[in-house]
Symmetry: C2
Subunit: 339 residues, 2 copies
């Protein structure tokens, strides 16, 4: 029910995805009447891969997480997460209020043993080399404002497992986001986290910066939630500004429009590569269950990517892999400390 568009986007995205995944079953959680109305628009009355789970409430986009947690027990968001908890669903996908989704997920599902705080992680585009684009995972992107070294270390362990499982990288390169100025070499937390990472079994590649981060120096980039959120939003802001500049230039005058017509196949190729929709689907990592957050303003194609992210994380059983790995890593560290 959430996001800027609600069922208008979620339903057609769901209908598209089930076509390609015949074994997938989607539970549409929300107001039954509105869901049926939306399904009817697509000439669907009932479908063997779809179930409607009716709820009477909805978490609004500007509601406080505390209020949503306390007063919206029959909201689509809360009920969807309950279904994960009750193992009636393998994952929850939502485009709703991020803070409320995180608060409810954390309250209902709890964090995995050894993990203090869940983190928000996002697939981001990178330039692998002259020819290819790829993706890396950055975390935390806003769940935790003030992080200590230990939290950054846990993010690194979790991000590494996600990249291993979902992105199929055997030994993901893990970088710590820092600033390169000579004057100061990062905050205390970052310096300490670097030490923890050097002593870990992770493939730690050292400090990375915003500039080389996009050139693919790491598969996983670790930072606190404030810094990560600023990095993400600034990146979106600049990309948006550049794309507007390009659009403006290609519509300014008859010659520009003619050039745009000639260059259309090339511009389409650029748009396809830079297409933000393929990067939709943030994972709430570190919980006892899979929760994927779609961008609030996601359109159909973009929302589909959030569902696909959920499918692949279910397939790789990410929470269980984190549980096992964290036990191993943190266990080894604790034993080493005791020696």
């Amino acid at each position: 029910m959430g996001g800027d568009h609600g069922p208008r986007v979620v339903i057609p995205a769901a209908l598209d995805v089930i076509k390609n995944y015949p074994n997938l079953h989607l539970i549409l959680v929300g107001d039954e009447a509105r869901i049926e109305q939306e399904l009817a628009k697509h000439a669907v009355k009932a479908h063997s891969q779809l179930t409607i789970h009716h709820t009477t409430q909805q978490v609004l986009m500007d509601e406080s997480p505390a209020f949503a947690l306390r007063s919206k027990r029959d909201s689509s968001m809360r009920v969807a997460i309950n279904l994960v908890k009750e193992q009636k669903a393998h994952a929850c996908v939502s485009a709703g209020n991020t803070g409320a989704l995180m608060a409810i997920a954390r309250f209902v599902l709890k964090t995995l043993p050894g993990i203090d705080r869940p983190a928000i992680v996002y697939p981001m585009p990178i330039n692998v080399d002259q020819k290819k684009m790829g993706r890396m995972r950055m975390l935390d992107l806003g769940a935790n404002v003030d992080c200590e070294a230990e939290h950054l270390f846990q993010f690194a362990v979790m991000g590494s497992i996600l990249a291993q499982g979902v992105d199929n990288i055997p030994k993901p390169k893990v970088g710590l986001l820092n600033i390169g100025s000579e004057a100061i070499k990062g905050s205390e937390a970052v310096k300490k986290a670097a030490q923890l990472l050097e002593e870990s079994g992770l493939n730690y590649v050292g400090f990375v910066e915003g500039t080389n981060m996009y050139q693919g120096v790491a598969d996983v980039v670790v930072c606190d939630g404030f810094v990560g959120n600023v990095a993400l939003k600034c990146s979106e802001g600049v990309a948006d500004m550049l794309i507007r500049t390009i659009k403006r230039a290609f519509t300014d005058g008859w010659y520009a429009r003619f050039a745009a017509f000639i260059a259309l196949p090339v511009l389409k190729k650029i748009a396809a590569r830079a297409e933000p929709s393929q990067y939709n689907g943030a994972t709430f990592l570190g919980l006892n269950g899979i929760v994927i957050k779609s961008h609030g303003n996601a359109e159909k194609d973009s929302y589909k990517h959030a569902i696909l992210e959920a499918i692949v994380e279910v397939t790789h059983n990410i929470p269980e892999r984190i549980r096992v790995e964290v036990e191993k890593t943190l266990g080894a560290r604790k034993r080493a400390q005791n020696v």
Copy 2:
């Protein structure tokens, strides 16, 4: 002598700028023989607007600020800042080691009364509206890792004066960089700084995010040095990635190259608008004197912008304006607190 290119870039930039500013006098501080050699390449032996100030040392790009401060007393960097201190120069422009330049500038020039820490501020491009691009000032970009609310407040006061003087905005809109997630509304320092700014006489417009920052919601964006440096570098990283993607697409195959040929005037227009060289020249704000840091890898046109930034800051006497304003603002606040 510093930067990636040294005199090879500085000398031709200097020669270009003095042509347009007949009242400008530039003191070229560094190794006399190398400077003369470079001038000779441009068929210049002596020029009434140029003086060479010979120095025997040079701060290297990877030297620690402490070492540079202690052991490089006859470096081009140290001597140039000394000239500002001795009022023999109105400003210092350098492409050298940022940390060393900041440490030496702070040691030699000292901060203005009422200013605890100097900040690095940079002009950044923004989309003013559908048609126009503009610029805003962001600070701090890396001089101070851990900032308290009071420091952020001082940055806001200084940035506002810079935007008033240099960018000719009577009441600059001042925003505080924060994250938008519902879960958490920023760090303690940011929350407290917001309170200080609300009570100030500044044109405070509230929290801004990386996304709307580039849409021109503020003329001055305030943040701590860690966050600011990450924001700047990520922005550069994304812009670079997008530009590479575009270049690649327009050279991939004969049709793409043909389209590039047809679209050349449009692509040139885009390049001119997105041109990073016009955004060169970071100001070390809050010092008893004007120090401008050029990007280390600046080429001639870019370095010229750093010199122009120095000229306009001298013309508007920015440090003196800050001194007066800080006394007024902080004085008023102290009086209000005592009442």
